[in-house]
Amino acid sequence: MKKQKRRKVTGLCFVLPGFTGVAVFYLIPFLDVFRRSFVTAIGNRFCGFRNYRTVFSNAAFRLAAGNTLQFLAVCLPLLLALSLLAALGLSAVAENEKLYAILKGAYLIPLAVPAASVVLLWRLVFDRYGFLNGILDVFGIAGEDWMNSGAAFGVLVFGYIWKNTGYVVVLWLAGLSSVPETLYEAARVDGAGKWDCFVRITIPLMRPAIFMIVVISLLNSFKVFREAWMVAGSYPQESIYLLQHLFNNWFRDLSMDRIAAAAVLLCIAVFGLIRLLQRCWEGSRQRFIKSSWTGRWGGFE
């Protein structure tokens, strides 16, 4: 009993520094944000849900939230699918160590390029008089003002996918390497094809990894604001006007009350999404365990 208690205390001692850091830098500031969402920007007078009502009735917020959602809806599946394909491709050439290392490195290069350089490149490529329109012109195709038209959304999606694919590929590879080779061998002996192996073994066994990858990608996707802001400033083309643009501009106008309310809403939305993913994962895990025992190969252990 004493030993158990001591172990708990030791455990707490290990957890406490980390928890303190999280509390000081995240939890407590968030509590302050939560408090500020119910008070006026100057004077700290309690104003009930007025800030929330203001945020919901704000057209700019609705536009930014819509764009952010649209961005997530397009980017996340695209990123996960493309990076998974790339990871599977890489796994296929894993035996050729040299080629594997080169390809893996190539995927990671965009991640190492500083944002400022990326932005400069974007400007050169996607400007009204940039490289892309120059190339299109050679083929007789009319160019576009990429960053000042609806095409800006596509550019942003492309930039996000280009920059983050390498990182997610590495996560996928880590997940793939955790699947025991013996399972594939056993399945193949039982007559399973590649698709069967992928659907019946790879995907189910990678569910925890998938959950983490989705959450990380979701949180990473908010960082795309940096590139968007550096390319197009505080007021970009309306299709790439994201929530962070709005927060940034509200901060300039000292609208801390609105920022606080919107931040709480965003936090609830992200937390809700993550919980939903978790639930889906847990549900599908249960279903998977159940189906595995009655499956085509008679289940596995």
Binding site: G43, Q237, L254, M256
Partner: protein
Amino acid sequence: MRLHSEKKKRRGCAFLAVLLSVCALAGCGKTTGDTTGEDSSQAGNEGAASFAPTGSGAKGRFVESDVSFPEEVTQIRCIGTRADGGVTVLADGTDAEKTWLFTADNAGGDWTAQEVELSLADSWVSGAAAAPDGSVWLSGSFADTDAARVKKINPDGSVEEKIPGMPEVKERDANNVITQMGIDTAGRIFVLDLNGDVLKMNPETGECAERIECGGEYVHYFGIAGEKLIMISESGIHVSDTATGTALPEDVVLSELIAADSSLKSSDTEGVFPLVFTAGMEPGSIIHADRSGIYCHQDNATVNEQLVSGDLNSIGSLNLVQIAMAGEEDFLIFGKDATGSKVLRFCYDKDVSALPETELTIYALEDSALLRQAVGIYQKENSGVFVTIKIGMTEKDGVTAEDAVAALNTEIMAGNAPDVIILDGLPADSYMEKGLLADISGIVAEVEQTDGLFTNVKNAYEKDGAIYGMPVRFFPVVVFGMEDAVRAGETVTGYADYIERAAAENPEKQVVYDLPARGVLWTLYRADSAKWIKGDGTLYEERLTEYLTAAKKIYDTGMDKSERRFYTRFDNVLYGTSGAGASYVMDGEVLSCYGTMVDLVGLEILLAAAEKTGGDYGILGGEQTKSFVPHLQVGISNASDVQEAAEAFLKILLGKECGSIDQNGFPVNRAGWAAVCEEKIKMYGSESTISISSTDENGQERGYMMNDLSQEETDKLAVLLESLTVPSLTDAVIEEVIIAQGEAYLKDEISLQDAVAAIRQKISIYLAE
């Protein structure tokens, strides 16, 4: 049992979390601790002795006072310390055409005036220095001869003339002249010439043959402290012995000073210096002053002691010319500002607290000479208040406006809002809406009662009887040309049509003073933007379209699209473009011009052009928009702990004395306006006309005659100013969006429809926020 333990654990965790929350939230509260004003824009000299915090019990401080001279004195020429410890001041009066040599034992007020047999009324004095024997040496060209001369003014008022023997100017076809003079404690005279060489002058013959070596470098300026000659060149400081001319060991303190602030290396303005020097009472000690204060260091010392802080007095707003010791402890500073030349006395008072009890913080996004002068005026009247000016964007740090505003907002949210906020470039409407700004209508009413105000400006800022921010200055955008041009200029579109028509009729001629694309857009924006926003906060698209079309028409008439023909810079919005343009109209190079009129000098040039060409001027958009450009909009923080001090400063800013300075726009203060006009009306004395010659942006010499302004002319301008009822849009975001898209349109990079669509889209998001 286990359940109980779980509960305990949960409670423990919850308690820990609450404890941490409370501790951290306590840190989010408003800080009420003392601040030392270290982030003051005036602070410099890191090695300076630090001050005690505000409100500490330490006593003793140098207190500033003006040295007053008889009313006839309008210009100070030189100050210096005599060998017997007394002080010499050379001054003259333009009106009386008299020059006086003032002497005093300690500059405490008992001045003896000696009239000098020399009038400096039509002279150009390039250098002046006072000798230890009480004489004063002047260099320059004087009314009695065109050639460069040196005059020695003896203590008895008699004048001796010397012909300076100067070496040839290197690599240029020009006559060498003296640009600065200095005299050491032994009476040795040193001069700086156009070659950037410091030369020793023979006091008997005026011969300047002996060159003081400065590592072969061009000397920007020099100072003398005792028997040390301190020369400032591009590479830094070089110190030489005045007796032998040999180089002395490096002065670490001064070298570090220059290394830390390269702006101290040279001055853009003739006759004023970033650093001034004199000898201290202790042998070998050097006293030096710059805008951050007065400092002293000993020979071979590494520590610089700050004697007087520029934050506590008006040194920070002065362009320094000379410094001199007055008695054993006091200092005299001779400097210039927009009001003219002045001598300040710094006298040590052991009974006042080392730092004032009250600290007043003033925030401005950009530095302003006018603001600093107002601070100087305020500090003279309120020596018990420590004023800190915080500048959001300085030339040194390269901070963008957006970053500066974000930093200010962080300070405000942390409870450290500045007491007085200059709202130019800041989201003023948002600050008012959030309740950050206090109602200043009471102070405005008080000033109005005492001095009178331009009520049209005041009314434009009054909302439901309250005023939360108000400009101290304002100026119009004017159009100049023949009658038809002025009439067409009553609307911006009318003026653009006129220019287009005139260009078609005169294909070989430049029709309008050519501004770069941003210049055209900025100027017309100021004249036209006041009525672009609808009552519901959306944009009048058709008015925006008209504005862009008008700008395009005017821009397209420019003969040279390389933007180098006339106007090469548009970096300073306070540059009076109408006056610059009028000189081209005067020379027949263009038919008309438009631009801002920011002072009465601008009016004088327009009137000179009118006299020569028969033209006239009027307000651009005077019929349709009737807008003025506000400048130095000021507000007081609601959260200020020193409301009284902030209000007193606001009164100074809006007051007559500050309003009497003719720069950065016209004062809203009527008494200030009257004083500015009165000054200009008698500006040129008995001659009433003056010949002006200046060099334009392309280096071309331009000359014209300017007359004294008449009362009718200033009255006419006053009527025009009174007719302006709305401020032009000052929202930095809207302006940047419109001008950025407008520039692309003017340069044919996008179509009008695309420009308007982009502006509409961006601004609608902004307005929706």
